[in-house]
């Protein structure tokens, strides 16, 4: 894990450089669209208390100065399939965001939605010789977590200390300077497919950008869509994206679980295209304009012109009732939600004190989804729109932008990760210690 440590530290340094320069881009590479926000950090003293603007959940120190969206290309299931096409899409979106912002951006923080995420909960425990938790002890207990076998070609995306326990007192968020004899910690580690991650890194490098961080899209959309109380009391965020459906579970303001289903809105579009024998574009239009999940009697009478440009008059002039469309969409959405339910069951979501479920992402805009989800997943279901951040244009406030906005929030307030703590001294390479020892012996 030393390479990972060094790599993530390098990204943290890059992020610090970007914050000093004041401009950083946030890139959400999804399956159906790529969004880019250019953030400007202009210090915490932009507003005063007398202006009537409070800390605004810590997001008053940056603002969005450029936004751009483009259709994603070469992506499938949240992973890069055709690298050249994805690179072109990233170039397009970054160039248009730079044009809107009017500044050059060199640092980018990206999120990855697919790549088969896997969550692990690790636990570690150390004895405190000093009887008190020092600065180095936190890093030591994090390093003491026993690491399971992640499997071949897996990369650690997040490694966040979630909970500290000191002599049986659990639930501490900051154990420093507290006295005790045994310090234990729980760490949440999210791993993803290494090849997908390196593809993403390579793609961004080819666009002449420096990668200043990578985050999981389900984590980022949870940050944006869940309000503070939900993060504190326990909630699950379900991000219905184009190619994947991300699930993240939060409690005590920490992510404790994340996963993704490889089903998404594209699949619904494909079902409509196959079922009604229309082109993909027509199916997408039907889904967004007329789609729904709860059929009523009125929907039988509401006829939808299919349209199309096949050139065959009879084919292009067909019409279907809305109930037919709902009949195609509903089973697929039910299947997606079933998978989500399985994941939540595997995560032990039923044992959480508050089983709030927040649906976000572009797919959450299907009418009737909240009723269906309430029937399938639990009663506390709401559709979540992302938080408002300063300078965001109105057309980027839709639920489909929640992972981009969450990434912006994460950039402004990064979560402590394992690599943010100084590595314990015994992890330094032995060679340099030996060299230092030799230097001392020769000179004193």
């Amino acid at each position: 894990m030393k390479d990972l440590y060094q790599g993530q530290r390098a990204m943290r340094n890059m992020r610090r450089q970007a914050m000093q320069r004041g401009v950083i881009a946030v890139l959400d590479i999804g399956t159906s669209k790529i969004a880019c926000l250019v953030l400007q950090f202009d210090g915490p003293s932009q507003f005063r208390e007398t202006d009537g603007v409070g800390p605004m959940a810590g997001q008053s120190n940056f603002r969005v100065i450029g936004t751009a969206t483009t259709r994603a290309r070469g992506m499938r299931y949240g992973e890069i399939e055709t690298m050249a096409e994805t690179e072109r899409a990233i170039r397009t979106v970054i160039q248009s965001a730079q044009k809107v912002a009017g500044v050059r951006v060199d640092h980018v923080i990206a999120c990855i939605s697919g790549a088969r995420p896997a969550s692990y909960g690790l636990a570690g425990e150390i004895v405190l010789p000093a009887g008190k938790v020092g600065e180095g002890d936190v890093a030591r207990v994090l390093a003491a977590c026993e690491v399971p076998d992640f499997g071949r070609g897996r990369e650690v995306l997040h490694a966040q200390p979630v909970n500290f326990a000191l002599d049986g007192r659990s639930g501490l968020s900051d154990p420093r300077d507290q006295s005790g004899s045994r310090l234990a910690c729980d760490m949440h580690v999210l791993t993803i497919d290494g090849d997908a991650a390196s593809n993403l890194v390579h793609c961004i490098r080819r666009c002449d950008m420096e990668l200043a961080g990578v985050a999981s899209a389900s984590y980022a959309s949870g940050l944006a869509a869940l309000v503070e109380d939900e993060q504190e009391l326990g909630a699950a965020c379900i991000d219905l994206g184009g190619g994947t459906t991300g699930v993240s579970v939060f409690i005590k303001k920490h992510m404790i679980f994340a996963d993704a289903v490889r089903f998404g809105g594209e699949l619904i579009t494909q079902d409509i295209a196959k079922g009604l024998r229309v082109s993909h574009a027509v199916a997408e239009r039907l889904k967004t304009l007329h789609g729904g999940l709860e059929a009523t009697g009125r929907d039988d009478r509401e006829m939808i012109e299919l349209g199309g440009e096949t050139g065959d008059w009879d084919t292009d002039r067909r019409s279907v009732s809305r109930a037919d469309l709902i009949g195609i969409m509903r089973p697929r959405v039910e299947e997606i939600l079933e998978k989500v339910g399985e994941i939540l069951g595997a995560a032990g979501f039923d044992c959480m004190p508050s089983r709030q479920i927040v649906l976000t992402g572009g797919g959450s805009q299907i009418p009737g989804l909240d009723a269906l989800a309430a029937r399938m997943l639990g009663q506390n279901v709401r559709i979540g729109r992302p938080l408002r951040i300063q300078g965001l244009p109105h057309n980027a406030t839709a639920p489909g932008f929640s992972s981009a906005i969450g990434l912006a929030l994460l950039t402004a307030h990064p979560q402590d990760e394992w690599w943010d703590f100084d590595m314990p001294a015994e992890h330094y390479p032995a060679r340099s210690l030996r060299r230092a020892y030799r230097w001392f012996r020769n000179n004193w």
């Binding site: 397009t92 160039q95 050059r104 008059w313």
Partner: protein
Amino acid sequence: MQGLNPFHRGQGPGGRPAPVRPAPARPAPVAPRTPRKDPAPSRLAYRLNRMMLRPLVRRLVHVGLPAFLAALVAGIWLSDDTRRANLTGGIDAIVDRIQHRDEFMVRMMTIEGASPAVDKGLRAMLPVDLPASSFDIDLEKLRERVLKLDAVEAVDLRIKPGGVLSAVVTERVPALLWRHARGIELLDKTGHRVASVTGREVRGDLPIVAGEGADRAAAEALALIDAAGPILPRLRGLERMGERRWDVVLDRGQRIKLPEDKALQALERAIALDRALHMLDRDLSVVDLRQEARPVVRLGLEAQNAIRRARGQPELGADGLPLPPDAAAGATAGKAAKTARKSG
């Protein structure tokens, strides 16, 4: 074979022609529109775009490059001598044409308040021949040059509408004659030179002063002469001594030495003494008033000799030394008479 082709049943060998059926109106076939390719900048365009977003590069391209190109084109165009000459010639011609319009021409010069000599000098000073453009006449410089003439105190130069260069001259009024080592000059009341004269007789009406630095104290000299009322007929002139104080020179070789300051009061005191005691009618050669508290009088030679004779001492000669006792009487009388004549 009969019956195999049912369509020809019951028809003649020629057959009936197929009826003409109008084709139904159909929409013209639409060429399938190729879906627009997703636009994306090429790598080169992307890199150029990002380069242009650097502030330095952007400023260089937006400001530096056009300026450089303009300078380059102008430089290449001007590198040819003929073109440069044409350009400067053209500009000069335009400037010349505008400056020599009728409205800007000066045809006449009028001079007011100048004596003929000054008038002649002023006309000679005009740098151009009339008629000339008013742009060629630098009034400020001309005024400075005119003011260098000693006889001119002030001059008001202006170009009036109608092409008239008008000069209103105020001349200096001579108030004193100043005799110095280099000749005789006329001074005005501030001591400024007005003109040189050949002799005293040219302006007999003016008082005369002498000595180095007399021109700088001309105002004081005029005040002294004004105050000299009763002794004015006897006044020959004032002499500046050591560039710091005045001597009043009267006829018969008499001199009143005035102090450096309060000279006017000292002179008035001497006049008062004269009026009361007829001091200046007596045989005095010098009245020294330089020390206010102790006026000193030097007797003339006659008076000294009279005193010496009465005391039985040897008489003094004209050089102030005692005469040898044998050559005394006759010579003394002759010399005294001669001295008196000289000082008169």
